[in-house]
Symmetry: C2
Subunit: 397 residues, 2 copies
C-alpha cells in the first residue's frame, strides 16, 4: 500500500505593522493590512507531519504529543476542509488518486515553549497547511495557501513566506483578496536580526481573539488607526524595506507597536499587554537610539510587542552584540548574571541612569535570531508520525 505522507516546517513571524481587529470573525478577515518579518526556522519553528490512508477512521491531530479534538466548524476543521477542496480540483482536472476522500492524521511540534508567549499558532497553522499541501501535491502558490492558513489563525498567513511579508486586508466579503504576499525575500536584507526578550509575567492576559474584537466594538480610536494611520505606514515601511532603510523601518515599527497597544488600552474594559518590564525595555531602546542619533547616527534598534509582555528587538546584525550586552546588563539572566560579552556593557553616550538594573529573571531569557525563509518540505526521516499514522515520541524530532 502506498504511504501518503509529508513533513514540513514553518517559521514564526513577528509583525511590524500589527494586525488587530477582524471585519469577519468566521473567515478571519482583518480590519487592516499588516506586515511582518519571518524569523529563522533554524531557531524557531513548527514542524508538522501529515498522513492520509483509507484505514483511518477520522481526522486526528496531535500537538506536541497531545491529541487535540477537531471540532466540527472549528478553525482546524475549516483548514482540513479547504485543503481537501483544493485536492479535489487536482483529482478532477488531472486524474490524480482520490485521496481527498480519506481521513488525515497530523502531528505537530513546536521547538519553542508555548509558554514563551510567541505566536505559536501562526507557525503551527502555516506548517499544517504546508504539510497537507505537500501531502496532496498541490500546485497552489504560497499566496493561495495563505488564504487557508488565514482561516486557521489570521497571522498564520504571513508564515507562508520567508523574508518580509504583507497580509493584504482586502475588501471582498468572501475574503479571496485577503492573503499574504512577499514584500522582499530574506536575501534582500539578510542583516535584519532579532533579539526576543522573554519577559516574566504572572498575569493571564486577554486572548488576542477576544481582545481584538472588544477593541473593534468599543475603541473610539481604532477606526482612525485602520483608515488613516495603517495604510500610510504600510506604504512607507514597504519602501523602507525595499530601500534597506533601517532608520525608517525602526521608526515605523516602534510607532505601530505603540499604536496597537494604544488602541488596546482604548478598549472597554482596557487591555494591557505590556508590563513594567516591557516598558523598561522600551526606555532602554529609546535611550540607545537617542545616544546613537545624538552622535549623528541613525536609529539602531526597534522594539515591538505583540499581545503579551515579551519584547522583540529588531536591529542590523552588526549591532546585536551591543544590544545583547545592554539588555543583559539591565535585565540579568538567571544563568549569566554578568554581561555575556565582556566588561563594558554600555555603548558610547548611553545614559546609564535611564533605567534601574532589574533583578535576575525579570527577563527570563533571550532568543537571538534573524530574518528567515518560508516553509520547508522535509524528508521522510523527519516524520513525526509512524507508519501506522500514530505520533512518534516528540523527543525524536
Amino acid at each position: 500500500m502506498a504511504l501518503y505522507q509529508a513533513t514540513t516546517s514553518a517559521p514564526v513571524n513577528i509583525a511590524v505593522i500589527k494586525y488587530w481587529g477582524k471585519r469577519d470573525t468566521k473567515l478571519i478577515l482583518p480590519t487592516n493590512s499588516s506586515l511582518s518579518v519571518t524569523l529563522d526556522q533554524d531557531d524557531l519553528k513548527a514542524t508538522t507531519s501529515s498522513q492520509t490512508d483509507p484505514s483511518f477512521t477520522k481526522d486526528r491531530l496531535w500537538l506536541n504529543g497531545v491529541e487535540e479534538e477537531i471540532k466540527p466548524g472549528s478553525r482546524l476543521a475549516t483548514c482540513f476542509e479547504e485543503m481537501r477542496r483544493l485536492r479535489r480540483k487536482v483529482e478532477q482536472s488531472q486524474g490524480e488518486p482520490a485521496i481527498s476522500q480519506w481521513f488525515i492524521h497530523v502531528a505537530s511540534f513546536n521547538n519553542f515553549p508555548t509558554a514563551a508567549g510567541l505566536a505559536s499558532s501562526a507557525a503551527g497553522f502555516a506548517a499544517l497547511v504546508s504539510s497537507i499541501a505537500a501531502l496532496y501535491k498541490l500546485p497552489n502558490s504560497p499566496s493561495e495557501l495563505s488564504l487557508i492558513a488565514r482561516q486557521g489563525s489570521g497571522s498564520a498567513c504571513r508564515s507562508l513566506f520567508g523574508g518580509f511579508v504583507a497580509w493584504q486586508a482586502g475588501t471582498a466579503a468572501d475574503g479571496l483578496d485577503s492573503y499574504a504576499i512577499e514584500v522582499a525575500p530574506r536575501e534582500h536584507w539578510p542583516e535584519i536580526s532579532a533579539v526576543i526578550c522573554v519577559v516574566s509575567d504572572h498575569k493571564k492576559g486577554t486572548s488576542s481573539t477576544a481582545g481584538m474584537q472588544r477593541t473593534v466594538e468599543t475603541s473610539t480610536l481604532l477606526q482612525h488607526r485602520i483608515k488613516e494611520v495603517v495604510p500610510q505606514r504600510m506604504t512607507n515601511i514597504t519602501k523602507a524595506i525595499k530601500d534597506r532603510d533601517f532608520d525608517t523601518f525602526a521608526r515605523i515599527t516602534m510607532a505601530d507597536s505603540n499604536s496597537f497597544h494604544a488602541v488596546a488600552l482604548d478598549t472597554e474594559p482596557p487591555i494591557f499587554y505590556m508590563n513594567d518590564v516591557s516598558r523598561a525595555i522600551v526606555n532602554l531602546i529609546v535611550e540607545y537610539n537617542r545616544a546613537s542619533t545624538a552622535a549623528g547616527g541613525p536609529l539602531r534598534a526597534a522594539y515591538t510587542y505583540d499581545a503579551g509582555p515579551n519584547a522583540v528587538i529588531y536591529a542590523l546584525k552588526e549591532h546585536i552584540p551591543e544590544i545583547v550586552n545592554l539588555v543583559s546588563h539591565y535585565f540579568p539572566q538567571a544563568e549569566s548574571a554578568r554581561s555575556p560579552l565582556g566588561a563594558e556593557p554600555l555603548p558610547a553616550g548611553f545614559n546609564a541612569n535611564i533605567i534601574v538594573k532589574h533583578e535576575v529573571g525579570a527577563v527570563k531569557n533571550l532568543i537571538l535570531t534573524r530574518v528567515g525563509d518560508g516553509p520547508r518540505v522535509l524528508g521522510p526521516e523527519a516524520s513525526l508520525l509512524d507508519k501506522t499514522g500514530l505520533p512518534l515520541s516528540t523527543s525524536s524530532s
Copy 2:
C-alpha cells in the same frame, strides 16, 4: 499705614475628561475642552496669602516656606501682570488707590505632599489668583479669573469653581474664550466621592508640560481624539452630571482616562504614566463593576489616572466603604495591613482571583474625599505672611 492683604484657599480638581495638548503654549490654550470634579478643600487644598505694600522692593513668592524665583516672562510673572492689569481697571474706573504700582509678596502652602503626585499646581495657581483678586478687591467673576489662572497652569482654571467644572477650549487666538464654567455646583450631586490611591513609583515620569506637546507633535491618534471623541464625551458627561446618572458618568470617565493614556502611549517616544499597580487597580474596578452589573446593577466606581501612577476612584458615597475595603484587601497599607472595615472585604459576586494580593505599600495610602466647593476667602488669622510681608512658619497654618 493700611495693611493690604488677603488669604484664600483653593481646591484640587481631578479631570474626568482629560486636558492633554496645547494649541498655544504661551497662553496655555488647550487642544480640547476638559471637565473635572472639584475635590473638598477640607481634605486637600492650597492656601495662599498675598500682601502689597509700597515698602516692598520686588515681587516675591514662597511655596511651602521656600522662596521661588519669579523669572521675567514666566507663568508666575504673567499671573502677577494680569492681576495688576485688572486692578488698574478698577483704579481707573472707580478711583480706588493705585496699589497696583506696588510689589506683592505671596506665601502659599499645600496641605498635601507634592510627592503624592497630585496636581498641586492647579490648586496653587487657583489660590494665587483668588488671593490677589481678594487683595485687589476685584469685581471679576470666577470665569474671568480663570482666564488668568489658566496662564499659570492650564488645569488651574478649573479650580476657580466648586462642583463640576468645564474648561471650554475656545477657538480665539487671544484665548479670551478659553475659560472655566460651572457645569453644576457641589450641592447638585453631593454624593460624588473619591478615593485617591497613592501608588509607589520609583521612576521619574515625563512632565505633563513636555509630554503633552510631544503627543501633539507625534501622535497619529490625538487629532481624532480632539476632533471627534472629546466633543461628544463633553456633551454626554455634562448630561450625565445634570441627570445624576452615575453609570454614564463612570463609563465616560474611565473611557476618557483610557483614551488619554492611549494617546500618551501613541507618542514618539511613548509616554507611560500608569504602572503595574495602576493597572491592577483598573482590573479591580473592572471586576467590581462587572460583579455589580452581572447582578443587574449599575457601574459603581470609575477609575481615572492623571500624568502619574495614582488612581482616583470616583463613586457614590454609599459605596465608598466597600471600595476602601476592597482596595485595602488587595493593596494593604503599611499602617493597616488588615481590612479597615471588618473581615469581609469582597462584595457579592466579586471574583477573588481577578488580581493578586499585593505586598504592603504598593499603594502607599488612601485619601478619602468628595466633591467640594470653590476658592474660599479666609480671615486675617489664616495669613501665611507676617505684618512685614515675610512668611510665617508653615507649621502655623
